[in-house]
Amino acid sequence: MKKFNRGVALVGAGMSSFGAFPGKTTRDLFVEAFREMHASVDKGFDPNDIDECYFGNYSSSQFEGQGFTAPFIANAVGMNPRPAIRAENACASSGTAVRLGITAIASGIADMVLVGGYEKETDRSTEEVTAILATASDNLYENVAGFTFPGLYAALSTAYMHRYGATPETMMKVALQNHENGALNPKAQFGKRISDFIKMKQRSAEKKGKPIPEWDDEMAFLRDPRANPVISWPMRLFDCSPVSDGAAALLLVAEDMAHNFTDKPLYVRASALASGVPMHDRSDLSMIETATQAGQTAYEMAGVGPKDIQVCEVHDCFTMTQVIATEDLGFFARGEGWRALEEGRTARDGDRPINTSGGLKSKGHPVGASGAGQVIEVWKQLRGEAGERQLPGEPALGLTHNLGGSGQVCAVHIFERR
């Protein structure tokens, strides 16, 4: 069994808003995240005491023309000459950075580590972003065939639907649920319910003097191809997480120091990472094997099971991915995840709430920051600081699930409030 040589605790967490911020670079966004993280440390700390930095970033080289980022980001928050290392694992880059920060402390080489992630995507056109994200798929055998990123996850969705009977309506219900949660998250890019999008469309038509569109309800809106066009069937616009800018920052310390920083630290119970094969090489396309493997490793490490997890952020880069994740992590049996979703069991008031932050779908998906961003929701929920979206019952155990590429990497972390 895998274990840490010494324990690690999370004592601070902060993020920029996620969204489109013209004129802001990853450095500006990370400074915002760092500032909020600094303020979140209850008893304060001196940034000069930080030993090392680990940052997740997928592709500032392609998005911003900055090929090499770690020392620049470290410089922006006054961390030079400390070691600063960029982790790149596509959309799981900062989940990977979290793991590297944990292992640095667990090994004894560092006592206090700054971990985070950042991405700046919205300076590029949609076509350019599509091309940049596609470089995280198999360049030799998937891109060539015509697969885009929404296309790869759309194909996974058809395999899942065929095997288990889910439909495109299941996917629409994921969007509905995550936007319901995201509406309560002030940091979310689309902090709006689907009903708010309906009102926006109606107001915009009214302003332009056009006939005001009407839909019977939110599902009718999502079914309407004019309101919710197909991008790559069965995936529609509202099945895709947005193109985003954003940053997140976390402060990790050795467990025995945790109470110098806060009386409410979170303890890292597990850190697991799995790598896998491209899509065509998988024996089963209705699941994501890396997530199953990382989940199992994490549960063994923490000595807990899926039933013990009370807060959970999963990587809903596309809607059906969320359903598959809830099965990969063992919350529901294979083929039962879509029913559980449709029955409302994964809603905020359900018995297995998922993505209370709004998920990547509503909160936003600045890919290099997303994994660290998930940890921030667990931090808030376990400390009772999630505001209007706070889960009842003082949850004590939370999990994050961060996928990279078409699921070729998965990072799973488990945190506990004692």
């Binding site: 194909a155 991008i231 090489d281």
Partner: protein
């Protein structure tokens, strides 16, 4: 030359000759499509090329309206989408390819599990003649 390396370049040289080739590990017998120079099961480097029979089943697919620049230049668009999918060959391994021969205005009628046959797609890209693998319903 590239064919000696069991590499992607070798694979696409065969595609230009309208052959779908995988590699077989001479040590443990495992079959790989696309090819591998190193066996991921037993780590042997003793490989040989093996031609696929061209029959398989559709395992997953999507109908894409907003494709990459290369597909846009080939004439595909939101009004003229294309289908791409993963086909599992009767020999066992699976591969990504463009899928032809379905009515793309009714994607809900395309069925995972449909028997498929290998075909090749010739496309002029600038001055170059390119060949891609494709599948159509058998």
């Amino acid at each position: 030359m590239s064919k000696d390396l069991f590499s992607a370049a070798g694979f696409y040289e065969f595609v230009d000759e309208k052959k779908l080739m995988g590699t077989k590990c001479k040590s443990c017998g495992e079959l790989f499509l696309p090819p591998r120079p190193l066996c991921s099961s037993c780590h042997s480097e003793d490989m040989e090329w093996v031609e696929m029979g061209g029959k398989g089943k559709l395992e997953a697919f999507t109908v894409t309206l907003y494709g990459p620049t290369r597909m846009v230049e080939a004439g595909y668009s939101a009004k003229n989408p294309y289908c791409v999918g993963i086909v599992r060959m009767d020999e066992g391994p699976a591969i990504s390819a463009q899928i032809l021969g379905f009515d793309l205005s009714k994607p809900e009628e395309i069925k995972v599990g449909t028997p498929m046959s290998l075909t090749f797609i010739d496309r002029k890209e600038g001055e170059e003649e390119k060949t891609y693998i494709g599948f159509e319903p058998a």
